[in-house]
Symmetry: C2
Subunit: 149 residues, 2 copies
DNA sequence: TTGACTTCATTGCATATGCAATGATTATGC
DNA sequence: GCATAATCATTGCATATGCAATGAAGTCAA
């Protein structure tokens, strides 16, 4: 029962923790705008953003497809898509060739919303880059190394 | 109703998104070990880590205190602390000087657990640093710039 | 063709979360 | 000294989440 000294561990220097805090801060700052002004959550935003990219090859755009590209559980994608459909921002149709697949696509209202949202995101990205200045390239390289594998 | 072209936006290049994915991957990799082997969640782990640092000045170690340092909502801290108390890993006592405050402290069992957990975390940190090699310094500088303010 | 296996998307369920409200205690102004 | 305001921790409640299970559709081999 003697009080063995514990290893000295500083959470503030722990990379996973630092990443989590940085991610939360940056995401939340923008997400607050989405939420308050458009009623859009982060999962919903990710789905919308993916659908807003026309240049992407074959464009199956199924739930499975988005799950793979957007790093979200498929149930999360499915529920986000349902909410977006209920809001009239996307349309879900059964794929003709393979009736297991659900084809997701922006509605006109969805495109109109993205025409407002995307400039906000682009501006925020530029703001981050400006705030980090020279440090941005290093962050990018580090993230690249972390995400690549 | 003409299809206006949307701004070209690549989620994969969006810093908040990259941070979120990187944070999720690194945290989850370690959290899986906590969970499977010790039944500890990330919020619980953060509380434990904070309590495991003896060198920290006045050491009030209230829920409020942890909330501020560990970047978690106070309800999250409160619930994590309750679970840890139920598991016998920490003790909660009312602060004598200010009876609104709850003083949190590791029990002997809690210290014993941390003696196992902390080396895992330290090893993981070293693994990340090795994996990133020269890119690590850049990542650190970038995170520093993001988190400082 | 049939039957076992795989792939997709959704849903059920238990748990986790954020936020506001509450209760308890202490600080402050008059 | 007393009423009001501020601080701290917990809890209620609605919603979100992860994971497993389900159901529907397609593939493959014999």
């Amino acid at each position: 029962m003697t009080t063995r000294p514990l290893p000295d561990f500083d959470l503030m220097r722990f990379t996973p923790y630092r990443l989590a805090v940085a991610a939360e801060r940056t995401s939340e700052e923008l997400a607050r705008q989405y939420r308050k002004r458009f009623g859009i959550s982060i999962p919903e935003w990710r789905v919308l953003v993916h659908l807003a990219r026309p240049t992407d090859g074959a464009r199956t755009v199924s739930v499975r497809d988005i799950e793979a590209r957007v790093a979200m559980e498929k149930s999360k994608v499915s529920r986000a898509a349902s909410r977006l459909e209920a809001a009239g921002l996307i349309a879900k149709t059964v794929e003709a060739g393979d009736r297991r697949l659900v084809r997701l696509a922006l509605t006109d209202a969805g495109r109109a919303l993205m025409a407002e949202l995307l400039p906000l995101a682009l501006a925020y990205q530029r703001e981050i880059e400006a705030r980090l200045a020279e440090a941005f390239a290093g962050l990018e390289a580090g993230l690249e190394a972390l995400l690549r594998e």
